[in-house]
């Protein structure tokens, strides 16, 4: 158990080192969410009446800012596993696999690094949101919000690592990621309230862990609760999602890396 922690930390350390050295990557990954919040946030500002109809009093941009924070977390973490493919292609994986560390610690180290990186990127977007005028009634909430983002990203990094371990090529990986990422984001109240969705779509959205994360983070940022989902339920759903994904990812990763690449 002790060595599982140590080994996980070893991989975590390596992933973060690599992230730190790729400064251009940090900025590039910010461009897309920044465009979302600046362009979509302002373009849709006329939709305020729609938002108000579900009891939200503020600006549209304040409504969607938590959604874009989650968007950043989703995409940073779901893309994050891609270096698993490089590691297998360029031999680092074999180096790790022939050392005494356990297979699951490689997966866990990658996942924890990815989720921390996702949270760092999300916090930069939060900074941009504040800079363009999104207000924050309760600044103390920033710590628990980041905790939720890290937890949530851990689940998505699990999806990413799992797909990367299963996919044998970049093409397969990106195909799968695009197939999953956008729908999971769109089928959530990130941009518009669930109440505006047709019933059947709303029921599908209720199965999406992104929905609960957006609702929870928005409640923490704006103080407005919507859709009748209590925070406790959201936390429970996110936790179960993360536990399943982390467990599944370690299992699938261990199984897949034992096969020849």
């Amino acid at each position: 158990m002790n060595s599982l922690f140590y080994d996980t930390y070893t991989i975590f350390w390596r992933e973060l080192k690599r992230y730190k050295k790729s400064r251009s990557g940090v900025l590039i990954r910010l461009i897309q969410p920044a465009i979302w919040i600046i362009v979509i946030g302002n373009t849709f500002s006329g939709t305020q009446p729609l938002i108000q109809s579900v009891g939200f009093e503020g600006q549209y941009i304040e409504f969607m800012a938590p959604g874009v924070i989650i968007l950043t977390a989703i995409f940073t973490s779901i893309f994050g596993g891609v270096n698993t493919l490089w590691d297998r292609r360029y031999g680092f994986m074999n180096k790790a696999l022939t050392s005494p560390i356990s297979r699951s610690s490689i997966a866990l180290g990658k996942m924890s690094a990815i989720s921390l990186i996702a949270a760092l990127q999300a916090s930069l977007i939060l900074g941009i949101a504040l800079a363009i005028g999104v207000t924050f009634p309760n600044p103390i909430m920033i710590a628990p919000i980041m905790a939720i983002v890290i937890l949530f990203s851990l689940g998505f990094s699990g999806i990413s690592v799992m797909i990367a371990a299963t996919a044998k090529s970049q093409e397969t990986f990106w195909g799968m990621i695009n197939f999953l990422g956008m729908p999971l984001f769109m089928l959530s109240p990130a941009l518009f309230p669930l109440e505006l969705l047709p019933d059947w779509l709303a029921s599908v959205a209720k199965l999406n862990p992104v929905t609960y994360t957006v609702l929870l983070v928005r409640e923490m940022m704006t103080g407005v609760s919507e859709g009748g989902v209590p925070a406790v339920l959201s936390i429970a759903v996110i936790s179960v999602f993360v536990l399943i994904m982390v467990g599944l990812a370690s299992y699938v990763f261990t199984r897949e890396v034992n096969k020849p690449f």
Partner: protein
């Protein structure tokens, strides 16, 4: 523990391709053992089985006394593995790469710094240790890779094609390092190569492997002398008494075979240096003028050809096509 590495009827097939086909061999403690063969001969597959990356289809392999299938963790604790391609992280510094390697191999915290300093010294990279690896030359990366494999003082060090893609000078330099670490750390080294010269320079014993099978295992010296002969080539001036000359040459005991092509005579002999004066004596008795004479030791190239029936080559069309096909099939699956 009798042997450092021992395999019994080890086999690995991918579909209907037998990449490793019923090979049995053993490597002594502290020996440098080389697998010599062309690409696609089964060298890397064997190394991947011995390093626990692949499970054999059939047969058994023990590394440092542990079974690679049932005791992979113990095997991993006793080996170092330096892969064919460079596996260091380019954007990390040399030292950071070694630190990562040290942690992966569970070197006790209080020893890490000392061990890293030690191997950096050994491979002469101390002054470059804080530069990002992206600035290193190919040879420096390889040295760093090898250093990473040494940090935890493995009992068995696997080197997969340690000098492939390096220029001649760098290759020689790497050989020096390999000899140096073998002397310093007293470990068993198992290496694969498709360079004759490399096997000849480094290895105590060589196994020639082709098409998944071991053709022969012996010391480089024995292999060459098993060929029996040194090769003497001489060119004489065209003369009438050539026939007599040849018949007299045949009477020299040490000469085993004579080939004659117009003025050029090729002799296969043992103890060539003793044969040459005798040739001169006969020639001067018969008043035959020798234009040139040369004595050549058989090379491992000659040995390889004599065991496999073909020259070592980078791609044997038939075998490789089949192998590539199987690989592509696996990739698509």
């Amino acid at each position: 523990m009798l042997y450092s590495i021992e395999t019994k009827s080890l086999s690995k097939s991918f579909g209907d391709l037998n990449a490793v086909d019923d090979i049995s061999f053993s490597v002594d403690n502290k020996e440098i053992f080389g697998f010599l063969g062309p690409n696609g001969a089964g060298k890397s597959t064997t190394i991947m089985i011995l390093t626990t990356l692949l499970k054999p289809t059939f047969g058994q392999a023990l590394v440092s006394g542990f079974d690679v299938v049932t005791q992979p963790k113990q095997v991993r604790e006793s080996i170092g593995y330096v892969q064919q391609e460079s596996t260091v992280d380019e954007y990390l510094t040399g030292r950071e790469n070694l630190l990562l390697q040290a942690r992966l191999n569970h070197i006790p915290k209080n020893l890490i710094k000392q061990r890293i300093d030690e191997v950096l010294e050994l491979i002469e990279l101390s002054d470059k240790q804080n530069d990002a690896v992206v600035t290193y030359s190919g040879g420096m990366r390889k040295r760093l890779d090898i250093a990473g494999g040494l940090l935890h003082r493995p009992k068995v060090l696997f080197l997969d094609e340690p000098t492939v893609g390096l220029d001649i000078q760098t290759r020689r330099k790497i050989w020096e390092y390999i000899k140096k670490i073998h002397k310093e750390f007293d470990m068993t080294i198992f290496l694969t190569t498709h360079y004759m010269e490399e096997a000849d320079q480094l290895c105590d014993r060589i196994g020639i492997i082709d098409c998944g099978k071991i053709q022969v295992i012996d010391t480089p010296q024995n292999m060459k002398s098993a060929m029996g002969n040194e090769v003497i080539s001489l060119v004489i001036e065209n003369q009438n008494n050539e026939k007599i000359f040849l018949s007299q040459l045949k009477e020299i005991e040490l000469i085993k075979n004579i080939n004659e092509d117009q003025n050029k005579i090729t002799l296969f002999a043992s103890k060539g240096t003793e044969v040459i004066p005798k040739i001169f004596q006969i020639a001067s008795n018969l008043n035959i003028k020798i234009k040139s004479i040369s004595l050549k030791q058989p090379t491992l190239d000659d040995v390889f050809i004599s065991y496999t029936g073909h020259e070592i080559r980078d791609d044997d069309g038939k075998f490789n096509r089949k192998r590539e096909h199987a690989k592509m099939k696996r990739l698509r699956a």
